[in-house]
């Protein structure tokens, strides 16, 4: 009965989220391009290579541990690259360079917010996750708390985050591939969905990790080449790059400083909080810490990942400015040069720049890389979502831990296929919607529900099951509600009049995080149940394992 109620809550939450998000505005049709042969060739090369890896990984994926964590034997350096590959989505490559192209400095502000979550992950949760958990972050959150409520809560938080992120990626993938490869939108979405199902179902975490590593290397190489070509154009002088950009850009010297991205201090702080702590609550990112053997490798992964991601954001800044020089002046990249309408829309500057600096061949390479980027990110997301279903909901909530490994793996493969199909359906449903806000919504949910529960379960001895359960849901629901009744969805997406949104802040993380933390605190300290005493008594042993790794899940089972 209790399981049924929980399941009801989950379904209602997911449904209400999709209904609200489903009602959006028309973005306008992205026009289809002619077939790009070099892009298709390079893409086929990538796909056959990664399918080969999946076949190889499938031979090595025998146990649940192999499936969820690639056997736990990934090195810190490899994991750092894979994290970078998991995190640098097409949204950050195309979106940030597009933002720099459009408004200059504001793009840098955004990318910094996306980076500064990493040190916090390292100082607060990375090695703690490795020492306490096994497959999902819910393992850590529920370590000393009631398994059923906490895992259900964590699985809800994970699935909402994963689905929102997944929709944004699928729609982006469809539009991008339609534009780059001349495929129909629905075919592009189905292709992404099918490939991701193949990688994850057969190759599990091992294949996903290698897809992410390869993609990270390709993306970093491609972006480095573009940045060097841009700098070569201006004789390797930043002074010249910025001078030319300011002269060309219609906003002139406004692009050299902060513009309209954040207007009031509260929004600025709130945006920062959401980006910083959202990163520390993304299930597909947290899951990567279980793939390394110990705390030492977990720390190294973050160090390398921060380096790669930071370097990448500096490149996107140069690429954005390069596009102002080389793309905005060339009518062939525009569908309407006078009105300033780029072919393919505002996310395309980096793609057009690839053509401007490297011709058709390099355009093909970057197009294939952009596709690979999407594949790597959706695979990581799907694996995290499937683990929440199979490891948390099925094995530990519905079966109360009485389940054998083979069965659990079967369920996770079924969940992968189900999530893949759901992603395809949602991707097609949302074709014409503006999905840009969904990534930020995913970050807000992660920062307000997943992160508070995870952090307090590790550090706060007085946290109780009741507090974490109620507080986690309060954070989740507040985050969803405030984004929906805020200007981005209410006015821009649902189309109500400007200024009519019941909640006037674009970035609600400061409120929803506070709601989450305060509810967890309040419902914990007022909890005098027997369960609460058990929760508090369990802290000491948990803390010792957390601090020293004694008793932690080792690198290899045998």
């Amino acid at each position: 009965m209790r399981n049924l109620t929980l399941f009801g809550i989950i379904t209602t939450l997911l449904l209400s989220a999709s209904v609200v998000i489903g009602a959006g505005v028309d973005l306008g049709q992205v026009q289809k391009q002619e077939l790009n042969m070099s892009a298709i060739l390079m893409f086929l090369l990538f796909v056959s290579g990664t399918l080969g890896i999946t076949y190889w990984a499938a031979q090595r994926t025998k146990t649940a541990k192999d499936f969820y964590t690639a056997g736990g034997g990934i090195t810190g350096f490899q994991n750092g690259l894979a994290i970078a590959g998991d995190y640098m989505s097409a949204a950050s490559f195309l979106g940030i360079s597009g933002l720099v192209y459009g408004s200059g400095y504001d793009g840098l502000i955004f990318s910094i917010g996306w980076l500064v979550g990493w040190p916090v992950i390292l100082f607060m949760v990375a090695e703690q996750l490795r020492n306490l958990g096994k497959y999902t972050f819910a393992d850590v959150a529920s370590y000393r708390l009631g398994q059923t409520p906490i895992r259900s809560m964590a699985a809800c938080g994970s699935l909402v985050t994963v689905l929102l992120y997944l929709i944004a990626q699928m729609v982006g993938a469809g539009q991008l591939i339609q534009l780059l490869f001349g495929l129909e939108y629905w075919m592009a979405v189905v292709l992404v969905g099918v490939l991701m199902i193949l990688y994850v179902t057969f190759g599990g975490m091992l294949a996903t990790t290698w897809v992410q590593i390869i993609k990270a290397i390709l993306l970093l190489t491609g972006a480095t080449f573009m940045a060097i070509m841009v700098l070569k154009e201006v004789g390797f002088s930043f002074e010249a790059l910025f001078t030319k950009a300011v002269a060309i850009h219609k906003k002139h010297d406004a692009i050299m400083g902060p513009g309209g991205l954040v207007t009031d201090p509260l929004s600025a702080i709130s945006l920062g909080l959401g980006l910083m702590f959202g990163t520390a609550g993304l299930p597909h990112i947290l899951m990567r810490f279980f793939t390394v053997s110990d705390a030492k490798e977990a720390r190294k992964s973050v160090f390398y990942a921060t380096g790669f991601i930071g370097y990448f954001y500096i490149l996107t800044f140069i690429i954005g400015f390069g596009a102002i020089l080389l793309v905005s002046t060339n009518p062939t990249y525009f569908s309407d040069f006078v009105a300033g309408k780029l072919k393919g829309g505002g996310n395309m500057p980096a793609i057009h720049l690839a053509h401007a600096v490297g011709g058709d061949i390099f355009l093909g390479f970057i197009s294939a890389v952009a596709f690979a980027t999407i594949l790597a990110v959706v695979s990581g997301l799907t694996l995290a979502g499937a683990s929440a279903v199979s490891h948390d909901l099925y094995a530990n909530v519905f079966r109360r831990g009485r389940v054998d490994e083979a069965q659990e793996m079967r369920v996770s493969k079924m969940a992968t296929i189900a999530l893949g199909i759901l992603a395809i359906i949602l991707g097609i449903q949302f074709e014409k919607q503006n999905v840009a806000f969904m990534v930020y919504l995913a970050f807000t949910v992660a920062a307000s529900a997943n992160f508070p529960v995870l952090l307090l379960s590790i550090y706060w001895s007085k946290l109780t099951t009741r507090g974490a359960f109620i507080g986690g849901f309060v954070g989740l629901i507040t985050a969803l509600t405030l984004v929906i009744i805020g200007p981005t969805v209410w006015e821009d997406t649902l189309g109500f009049a400007k200024g009519s949104a019941p909640f006037q802040y674009k970035f609600p993380a400061i409120f929803s995080m506070a709601a989450g933390f305060i509810s967890i605190w309040f419902f914990s300290i007022t909890d005098s149940s027997a369960r609460a005493k058990e929760d508090i008594a369990g802290f000491e042993a948990q803390d010792i394992r957390c601090q020293t790794g004694i008793g932690a899940d080792g690198a290899v089972d045998h």
């Binding site: 910094i112 917010g113 390292l122 100082f123 902060p258 929004s267 702080i269 030492k296 380096g307 004694i550």
Partner: protein, 102 residues
Amino acid sequence: MQPDMVSKVKNHPKYRELLAKRTIFSWILTIIMCSIYYGFILLVAFNKEFLKTPIADGSIITIGIPLGVVVILSAFLLTGIYTWRANGTFDDLTREIKKDVQ
């Protein structure tokens, strides 16, 4: 974990040392990172003009650009400092505790 193991570790002097050192260290680094980042964000919110000041007379480059790059580099540097110290000092202490109790 066995109850006797819990008390053995808890009362180990090196465990207390580890706990004290690591807690302070991660808090200091977290506070540094947050001060740098939120300091930057507050500049964006309150003092846009400062960020738009040229770094030198006649230069087009504004203070905001090197400052932004510094924030990115500081994130990388801080993770490096933590990793270096934790993989050295903290892991040595942990190893000694483990050796004594197991």
